[in-house]
């Protein structure tokens, strides 16, 4: 793997009585696309702002290429930020917005011109140089903000929910463009979002946070397939979260049945949470052939698949299948051992506090 670029050690930030970031540890490598993912108020933006130099940590260290960054002011850090609402300079045109960082660094005019033009070309804004930033659409303003940050060739680009204000179609396009830029420029991206789909699409590494604490760090596949606790499972994708009991290694009991699974290392009869993704539940027409018997109570067409709610004796299951089973029919359900994800109890519930302003 490439070498470590940023290291967060026991990073903590408090506002009055509230702890926004609670002693997090994280290593970010060169060229990595890292996403901080979590609900509002989970501390992701605060973490990003501490790396950018806009908030001082109360405890802990930020290391940049092994050197302590805590007391370095924002304007001396080799990182640039794309702000949530772009924060463009409204009294300057597009060209001057992008050129600002280079002008401050007293780069010769000819080079400024070359780099700004190249950057505007990259974000597809050629010919917009003289335009007033207020006259641009949201998507165009976003591109100016990205160009303004990237023209300085930072080692790290911090992005604070950069696509939050764009409509769905534009957001999908920009996701791909951002990913292309990150790959071609070889810059580390630290990306903050509350959109789990965005995080799964773009990241090399996803850091799931809640209440100022890192819940899980992993590849998108890890996070999706093997959530470590109830919070991560519930936040990433749709899932059936079921309370059960781990009888012994590879044997778990829920819904009055004993299932084979692939998890081990729990105490005998330890209460656990079980995650089954809705697409992993198979339906058989003959109820007797299923491990769980249930009645279809709702069917919704979602385009790619049908989303059905199937009621067993004790609970409801969310199931996604391409084949539709009519409402009211009695069916059987089966789950493969590998699709049963067993997690330790003791999850943190989701907080609804607002983090911005």
């Amino acid at each position: 793997m490439s070498k470590t670029l940023i290291e967060l050690r026991n990073l903590t930030k408090r506002y009055n009585d509230m702890t926004a970031v609670d002693g997090i540890n994280l290593t970010i490598r060169e060229n990595e696309f890292v996403t901080l993912l979590g609900p509002s108020g989970c501390g992701k933006t605060t973490t990003l702002r501490m790396i950018g130099g806009f908030e001082d940590p109360d405890e802990g260290e930020i290391l940049f290429e092994g050197k302590l960054l805590n007391n370095v002011p924002a304007y001396k850090r080799n990182v640039n930020t794309v702000f949530q609402r772009y924060a463009l300079f409204t009294h300057m045109n597009v060209y001057e917005n992008v050129a600002f960082g280079l002008r401050v660094k007293k780069v010769p005019n000819s080079e400024i011109d070359r780099r700004v033009k190249k950057m505007l070309k990259m974000v597809d804004l050629e010919g917009f140089e003289k335009r007033n930033v207020d006259s641009l659409s949201g998507g165009q303003q976003q591109r100016v903000a990205i160009a303004r940050a990237l023209v300085n060739e930072p080692k790290v680009l911090l992005l604070d929910e950069p696509l939050g204000a764009l409509d769905l179609k534009l957001r999908k396009e920009m996701q791909i463009e951002l990913l292309d830029m990150q790959r071609s420029l070889g810059i580390t991206f630290i990306y903050v979002t509350h959109d789990q789909e965005e995080a799964l699409t773009m990241s090399d590494t996803v850091v799931v946070m809640n209440k100022g604490v890192i819940q899980q760090v992993g590849t998108p596949e890890d996070i999706y397939n093997e959530p470590i606790n109830r919070f991560v499972a519930g936040f990433i994708g749709e899932s059936n979260i079921i309370e059960g009991v781990m009888l012994e290694d590879y044997k778990v009991s829920f819904d009055g049945m004993v299932f084979d699974c692939v998890d081990k290392g729990f105490a005998p009869n330890e209460p656990v949470d079980i995650v089954i993704r809705p697409e992993d539940i198979r339906i058989v027409v003959d109820p007797e052939e299923g491990m769980i018997k249930g009645r279809v109570t709702s069917v919704v067409f979602k385009g790619v698949h049908y989303e059905m709610i199937i009621e067993s004796d004790t609970r409801e299951y969310l199931v996604q299948r391409t084949k539709m089973f009519p409402e009211g029919s009695i069916v059987g359900m089966n789950v493969q051992p590998a699709d049963i994800q067993v997690m330790k109890r003791g999850s943190t519930p989701c907080s609804e506090e607002e983090e911005e302003e």
Binding site: G52, G53, F54, T81, T90, M92, N93, Y95, E96
Partner: protein, 282 residues
């Protein structure tokens, strides 16, 4: 239909405006171009004597004085007011209103009362001089005189400079300032290239709001200047109240009005061109 209905709500104000603003304005204009007994319509005849009198050196000097004093006090207000406005805008939101109120409170007090207070403070045997004497320092002899007038103007009009600048500064998105830091701008660069240009509209309206009352004020110079340095406002007051030369007074008023209109036009030009220039740069 609805529009016309709404327009009707403005009628009382329109009537008010015509009676108390438009008509008097034309009366002043009428007096400024006539001479004779103002109480006898038959005696009034067209004349430019009022305006001719304005051109006499002694009166030109008064007009010049007024503009210079107003200009200096506006400048001082800007120099003092901008940092104050900035300080208030940067204060924690909890204390901001309190601080703002402290700077505004003087306006709630009667203007005359405040000026009298300065009179007693600055008079040769006033509080300031007694303190100086007690400290063994030389006496401050600015009253009556231009110094005291200037002080009175700055004191009275400072809030009108602070308010508009504060309003503009507090509206600047803090992320924009962070962005400037993020792009390598230290505090000086961020102020000169981002904050200052963005606050130009506030500066322009602050200057307008201070300069206009300052150039036409008459009480301050009368009380603190001791008649030594009469301003155009004093002169106009004199013509209407003691000299009873309404024609000359009206001419002065019209001249003052025209000059104010010109300076306002210049200011709004600066405001616009400043914004244009920033946009056009490169």
């Amino acid at each position: 239909m609805q529009r016309r209905g709404r327009g009707r709500i403005a009628y009382p104000y329109t009537v008010w405006m015509v009676i108390f603003i438009v008509v008097p304005l034309f009366l002043i204009l009428f007096y400024s171009f006539t001479e004779g007994d103002i109480h006898n319509l038959k005696d009034l005849r067209f004349s430019l004597n009022g305006y001719k009198k304005v051109l006499e050196p002694i009166y030109l000097k008064v007009i010049g004085n007024s503009f210079v004093l107003a200009g200096i006090s506006t400048f001082i207000c800007l120099i003092i007011g901008y940092p104050v406005a900035m300080m208030i805008a940067n204060t924690d939101a909890k204390y901001r209103n309190l601080l703002l109120t402290l700077f505004i409170v003087p306006i709630w007090m009667n203007f005359l009362l405040r000026t009298y207070a300065w009179m007693s403070l600055l008079s040769p045997n006033g509080l300031v001089n007694r303190v100086l004497l007690w400290l063994g320092l030389p006496k401050l002899e600015i009253m009556p005189g231009k110094g005291a007038v200037l002080l009175g103007m700055v004191y009275n009009f400072l809030p009108f400079m602070i308010l508009p600048i504060y309003t503009v500064l507090s509206k600047i998105d803090k992320h924009v300032i962070e962005a400037a830091h993020d792009l390598g701008g230290n505090n000086v660069i961020t102020f000169m290239r981002i904050i200052l240009p963005l606050s130009v509209p506030g500066i322009v309206s602050g200057i307008t709001m201070v300069f206009l009352p300052a150039v036409s004020t008459f009480v301050i110079s009368g009380l603190l200047g001791g008649g030594k340095a009469p301003l155009i406002g004093d002169l106009i007051e004199q013509q209407f109240l003691s000299s009873r030369d309404w024609h000359f007074g009206s001419s002065l008023s019209i001249i003052l009005m025209v000059m104010i209109l010109i300076s306002m036009a210049v200011m709004s030009r600066i405001d616009k061109s400043e914004a244009e220039e920033e946009r056009r740069k490169i």
